[in-house]
Symmetry: C2
Subunit: 265 residues, 2 copies
């Protein structure tokens, strides 16, 4: 496991305007949902993994430390069930803050309850008292096979009911507005959403749900057929247009990688 070290003051100055504590927020958004930072690490060809289900190391040690610094500035961290299954992530914050680790709330977005909770690293850590008990957000219509425990908690989210959305899709997806409302009700004031590709591609098209976007880019090409970040195409008057754009963009080199921060236009 790479060591997580303190980042420099210059690095902090760079990232501060995009953090919950440093960003200026729209009042309406602040009343309705937590501060949401969308973040991921990708290759030059926008891949987050060589193949579905394969954990692929992309960030170097400097961006790794930066990611943990980011986590230390958020109350919760959220990943989709695909990432939870593929990576079995710890979802902890290892950024050094005095003597105590920063307690961050791990959240798994698992509408249809596919994740094997009990054998997961996140739950093992919670049992040992080394992290908070993860929350599993699922569709209200799906029923957990076991009950919540001191090491995990099932939280139902009202299902997405929408005309025009195929039944199969509405069953497996939840609306972000509902997800974030549930987090707000639980007093989560900031959440860092880290992936995977399905979650990221959805959220890049939900600009009203996102306050900051922070992407780490590694100078490598994984090649065709990897797991790509690229949102669905967007058409205006029948003509393809850019799917998403950043404004107030800032780039900075961290080791061999770059970090780009911005806000969705």
């Amino acid at each position: 496991m790479d060591e997580v070290t303190e980042i420099s003051e210059d690095d902090k100055t760079f990232i501060t305007p995009y953090l919950p504590s440093g960003a200026i927020r729209d009042d309406d958004a602040a009343n309705e949902r937590p501060f949401v930072t969308l973040t991921y690490a990708c290759s030059m060809d926008s891949m987050i993994s060589l193949s579905p289900g394969v954990r692929t190391t992309l960030s170097g040690p400097k961006t790794k430390s930066m990611t943990h610094y980011l986590r230390s500035n958020h109350e919760a961290i959220l990943v989709g069930v695909g990432t939870a299954i593929a990576d079995d992530p710890s979802l902890t914050c290892r950024y050094p803050r005095g003597n105590a680790p920063t307690a961050i709330q791990p959240i798994i977005l698992d509408p249809q309850l596919r994740w094997d909770v009990q054998s997961s690293k996140a739950v093992t850590l919670a049992r040992k008292g080394e992290s908070k008990a993860p929350w599993i957000l699922h569709a209200e219509s799906a029923s957990p096979r076991c009950i919540s425990d001191s090491a995990w908690e099932y939280i139902p989210v009202p299902d997405h009911v929408s005309t025009g959305v195929p039944a199969s899709q509405s069953q497996s997806r939840l609306q972000w507005v509902s997800i974030l409302r549930v987090l707000m009700q639980r007093d989560i004031k900031s959440v860092m959403i880290e992936g995977g590709a399905t979650v990221i591609n959805d959220l890049l098209l939900e600009r009203k749900m996102i306050d900051s976007v922070i992407v780490t880019m590694a100078p490598t090409w994984l090649g065709e057929g990897g797991v790509a970040v690229s949102p669905s195409p967007i058409f205006k008057d029948g003509i393809r247009v850019n799917a998403a754009c950043l404004k107030q963009t800032a780039w900075r080199q961290f080791g061999d990688d770059a970090v780009v921060c911005g806000r969705l236009v």
Copy 2:
């Protein structure tokens, strides 16, 4: 047309180690082929265009100026026939150097002679004396329908003869070693290769043919189905590995975009 302005001394210092004049070269490579810089502009999702054949503006004015500064440091600029047809590019250098424009040799890689030479912008500019006459590199086995002119020149390249390559592919592709040998014979000491996707994806896997890679990244996502830069997947002992990697990497922000420079590992 965006104005091309001088780039700052800091910008020049950043880019110099990756230029033909500033880079340290392997002696063998220097004797066998020109200095080759592979360069392209892409979105966050590694797309160079919204759809095949659609010219998509990605770089802002600052990276545009940087691209023309790069051109002014090379003797030739090369694009594939797909880009020549889709974009009808000028292939000139507009970077200000004293009073005279920098004369750069435009080259179209057109193995099967698909490009409509006579109506192209590059030939129109050459007729007016505003640029050099473009060279059209084609497979020796393909016959031009007209002869060379003062405004363009056909140059045959020995065909790729290789076992294991399907006939259809060997007919439409030329080997890079043959292409660069032809340029060397014509006394081209440096060439900037600017696209399109087919050319870039090929060359990212030909690390012995490339001295520098310079990529401009714009903070936008074009979305699925665009024209992507992503090389063919590479397997080692049956396991997928990264297709290409950069070393000696340097990143710098130019306006809202970033430029990343490096050398293929």
